[in-house]
């Protein structure tokens, strides 16, 4: 329809998703425009690599376009999108065998790594010091606001593992950030 794209920015998301489900590219484009910030931020928190994050975010939206017809309720789109994003990340991790390697990390890594002073206040860099499963659980909980049950559903990890990853991850992240602040304040004083 000529000029249809002009009203996309004011269209509610469920209607856009419904139109995109029917093959409307303009509506899909608007969905990408609205949701890209969320997906790209999630991938950046998980990967700490802007180029890789954008590539993975593009893969997420390609999957969305391909599978949109299988989405039964348009209201379920936000959760569905999160699941596709998590699956895309997990596939990437599996491809690189990083998940397996990180599972072999020692159980308690409470002390900040030696490179922590250089970590900076940058949240993504601090997150990068955590193991893959810990980072994933923590980001889904704090960035996406997902409950433990939702994280279990999205990642396939047992509830106990999710809880422990979030608790230990939060503790470790606090330690890393505190160590950085200490170093920074010492440098300022001297």
């Amino acid at each position: 329809v000529t000029g249809a794209s002009s009203w996309y920015p004011d269209t509610p998301e469920p209607l856009l998703v419904n139109l995109a489900r029917g093959g409307d590219r303009g509506a899909f484009e608007e969905v990408v425009r609205r949701r890209q910030g969320q997906v790209r931020s999630l991938m950046r928190h998980l990967s700490n690599d802007a180029t890789l994050a954008d590539d993975l975010a593009q893969q997420v939206f390609l999957q969305v376009w391909l599978r949109l017809r299988t989405l039964r309720k348009v209201g379920a789109f936000p959760g569905w999108l999160k699941r596709i994003a998590v699956n895309t990340w997990l596939q990437h991790v599996r491809r690189n065998d990083a998940l397996e390697a990180s599972r072999e990390l020692p159980e308690t890594t409470e002390a900040p790594p030696e490179s922590s002073p250089a970590v900076g206040l940058d949240l993504d860099q601090a997150l990068a010091t955590l193991s893959e499963p810990m980072r994933l659980c923590l980001v889904l909980s704090y960035h996406e606001g997902m409950s433990h049950g939702e994280i279990v559903e999205a990642t396939g990890m047992p509830l106990g593992t999710v809880k422990s990853n979030i608790q230990r991850g939060a503790k470790q992240l606090r330690t890393v950030l505190a160590a950085y602040r200490e170093t920074e304040s010492n440098e300022t004083e001297s």
Binding site: Q36, G37, R44, H45, Q58, R72, W80, R83, K163, R174
Partner: protein
């Protein structure tokens, strides 16, 4: 061991306020038109490759069938007859009556294969939400 209460569950899910503030303060990425265009281009590229794959596959199949027919005309005709006979074989023998005629479209190996394909599709759709 007793099941955790609702309050215990809520307490377990309570987030660290300092970390929550850090995540909240982290700058959300602004919409990037280049990113949107890259996604749209990727969907177009995928469609082109998919159509090329389908077209190439169909063409290759047609060439193989035609070449086989030209090389071994009798053999290909026999195989085609056999394959058609197999997919139209009745699963339950119902004789020649009206019931056999009525159920003919679904009482074949071909119908079972189609039903299986549909079932797998529905199951995979459910699994993907």
């Amino acid at each position: 061991m007793n099941e955790p209460t609702v309050i215990e569950n809520l307490a377990a899910e309570t987030r660290d306020p300092l970390l929550q503030a850090l995540f909240t303060q982290a700058e959300p990425l602004a919409p990037d038109e280049e990113f949107t265009e890259a996604v749209i281009e990727r969907t177009r590229r995928f469609k082109r490759r998919f159509l090329a794959g389908i077209g190439g596959g169909a063409l290759a199949f047609a060439v193989i069938v035609l070449a086989s027919y030209l090389a071994f005309p009798v053999l290909v005709t026999e195989w085609a007859t056999l394959a058609f006979g197999f997919i139209s074989t009745p699963i339950v023998s119902l004789g020649e009556g009206w019931l056999a005629w009525l159920l003919a479209p679904i009482n074949t190996v071909g119908a079972i294969l189609v039903a299986l394909y549909k079932l797998i599709r529905v199951a995979s759709r459910k699994a993907m939400g």
